[in-house]
């Protein structure tokens, strides 16, 4: 009964994702007819060689990044929300992105302090990726340490928020002492950008996201057990510490790599799992997992399309769009939750 409804929802979501992907390729400062979009993807010749170039070297990597980032961030959010048993947990609220930002800021603005070859390497995209991953992992470990001491999950969230403020304060200090060029590099990174990635970077991102997702797939059964709370989960044979570590490792691989390549993208990880839970009305992580992946891709593709300001060639930063949509959704969720308590 509900399975039938779910599978039709899945098909619908997949179709929407496919359509949006093609739309994302066709739409932009230069509109490209669908026929030419398809011929460029399939390797045939498009009517104009510039169109072919735009699709293959700019829009296709950008749309792919949008799909990967949407999937990865949303799945991270799902993992965090079940682990912390808190509907407002997410990779950004817990300070993971702040950790990445701080670490990247150190590398971008502090690389001048390190001599020669090392600083060149640090400023390459690999250095930034590594810095971002390390940053988010360190914050996650800190959050974990706090969560061991503090039973109160609200406390953990507050610690995450505090860490965010702390990180941005240090970033401001670094900015104050940095050159205009360094500052620009960091600011552009911090605004989030799905484009401008070479195919090699997209490939590395794909490997990281796929790896993170594979690790998360092994968390599906433990996540279901965690729906009953820590103690019941343990009595069902769950190794809690190992599970906690696996979930956190998966989240930091996903969030860290995505933040490294596309910059911090807010709210996707927080809102998409909620939208999925509203749509599917289930807690079964097998369903939630695949649905979150699909809807994550859909939502970030929509945001990417919205970034192209209609009728002009202005491109808005992706982070602004996701926050513009995400913040009202979170407020609405809170209000809705209050209502269910009143009932």
């Amino acid at each position: 009964m509900s399975n039938k409804k779910n599978s039709s929802l899945f098909i619908l979501l997949a179709l929407v994702a496919g359509l949006l992907f093609v739309w994302d390729l066709a739409y932009g400062p230069v509109s490209i007819p669908l026929k030419d979009v398809f011929s460029s993807i399939s390797g045939a010749e498009a009517s104009k060689s510039t169109w072919e170039y735009i699709i293959q070297n700019y829009r296709l990597p950008k749309a792919t990044t949008a799909v990967l980032a949407g999937i990865g961030l949303s799945v991270s959010g799902l993992l965090m929300q079940t682990l912390f048993r808190n509907p407002l947990a997410g990779p950004d609220v817990l300070g993971l992105s702040s950790g990445s930002s701080l670490s990247v800021a150190f590398v971008v603005m502090g690389a001048g302090l390190i001599p020669g070859v090392l600083s060149t390497w640090m400023l390459s995209s690999y250095g930034i990726i590594l810095a971002s991953c390390v940053g988010s992992f360190v914050v996650l470990l800190a959050v974990l340490a706090v969560s061991q001491r503090m039973r109160d999950t609200m406390g953990i969230l507050i610690v995450g928020l505090m860490f965010g403020s702390f990180a941005s304060a240090i970033v401001s200090i670094l900015t104050y002492f940095s050159t205009a060029e360094q500052l620009q590099k960091y600011t552009f990174w911090a605004m989030g950008n799905l484009g401008n990635l070479s195919w090699l970077s997209v490939l590395i991102l794909t490997v990281c996201v796929v790896f993170g997702l594979l690790v998360s797939v092994f968390c599906i059964k433990p996540l279901d057990a965690l729906l009953l709370g820590e103690n019941y989960a343990k009595s069902l044979g769950l190794n809690y510490r190992r599970t906690q570590f696996t979930i956190i490792a998966a989240t930091s691989i996903l969030t860290g790599s995505i933040t490294a390549f596309a910059g911090p993208i807010a709210f996707i990880g927080l809102t998409v799992p909620h939208m999925v839970k509203l749509l599917f009305r289930t807690s079964d992580h097998k369903t939630l997992f695949s649905a979150t992946m699909l809807l994550g891709a859909v939502v970030l593709l929509v945001c990417d399309i919205l970034c192209q300001f209609p009728g002009s060639d202005v491109t808005l930063p992706i982070n602004a769009i996701t926050s513009l949509i995400g913040a009202p959704v979170v407020i609405w969720l809170l209000l809705r939750k209050r209502n269910t308590f009143d009932r």
Binding site: F218, G229, N231, S235, L236, N239
Partner: protein
């Protein structure tokens, strides 16, 4: 006589920190057999929870041993233990969209594959547990849509689905009204005799426990004595249950009375 499912040897329970060792109770020799309903009674703070935590391997004993099917309980790996021992706890479930069926089906986790897929055998075990606890008609409901009494039955069903020789319940009757307390006691009694499992639970409803349990573990004054209800009454095991001298057990009425107000 067959081997007991769980027994203890000269067990001391309590808390250990770096400097202090606080012994809550000592010299405990218990023996829990199959098809027995055993209740654990005692005043607040006497160490019922500590005893349950020690018996279920969550906490290490100060000295002595807890043996579950002749193996020390803390030597089991979590997954092995989950096939021997299931729990019903007092804590509230975190918010989720779980249906009653899904909740009970989580009890099958020790037996399912890496992604938690239910086999036809798992499904029939879940349905059996739902039927035994009279909650089958609730299967499709969300767990937050049913009453406290129904939820308690569903949690018992979850423990049954886990298919373990021993089920331990921590104060399962606490939030229930009189009618549902009686119903839950009856259910536990029925389950222990029909499924041959040993069911151990802590409770403050001592009079009901006396009436329906096969055996009672009475805890007071750093000791835990196990016997049948009638023998415990005869030997005066209930008289010292509460530290207040004004509360005594009336052997004729089979219940506690208090005087001097």
């Amino acid at each position: 006589m067959t081997d007991p499912i769980l027994h203890t040897r000269d067990l001391s329970i309590g808390y250990q920190s770096k400097k202090h060792t606080t012994v809550v109770a000592s010299g405990i020799d218990l023996s829990l057999g199959s098809a027995k309903l055993v209740s654990l009674v005692g005043a607040n703070g006497v160490g019922k929870s500590t005893l349950l935590r020690t018996l279920t391997g969550i906490q290490k004993p100060i000295s002595g041993q807890v043996l579950l099917e002749n193996k020390i309980v803390t030597d089991y790996s979590p997954s092995q233990l989950s096939k021997k021992l299931s729990l019903v706890l007092t804590e509230k479930l975190p918010p989720s969209n779980l249906t009653v069926f899904e909740l009970v089906a989580l009890g099958r986790q020790p037996y399912t594959n890496w992604v938690g897929k239910l086999t036809p055998e798992d499904i029939s075990k879940v349905n059996e547990a739902l039927h035994l606890t009279d909650t089958f008609h609730l299967s499709a409901k969300k767990h937050f849509q049913i009453s406290d009494g129904q939820l308690q039955n569903v949690l018992v069903a979850r423990a049954l689905a886990q298919d373990t020789p021993l089920i331990v319940l921590d104060e399962p009757t606490t939030h229930l009204d009189f009618q549902h307390k009686v119903a839950l006691f009856r259910l536990l009694k029925k389950l222990s005799s029909e499924t041959e499992k040993c069911i151990l639970f802590s409770t403050h409803d001592i009079e009901m426990a006396i009436e329906l349990s096969d055996e009672i573990i009475a805890m007071n004054d750093g000791k835990a004595i196990q016997d049948t209800p009638s023998k415990l009454i005869e030997s005066g095991g209930f008289d010292r249950l509460f530290a207040d001298d004004n509360i005594v057990f009336d052997k004729q009425k089979g219940r506690f009375v208090f005087r001097g107000i």
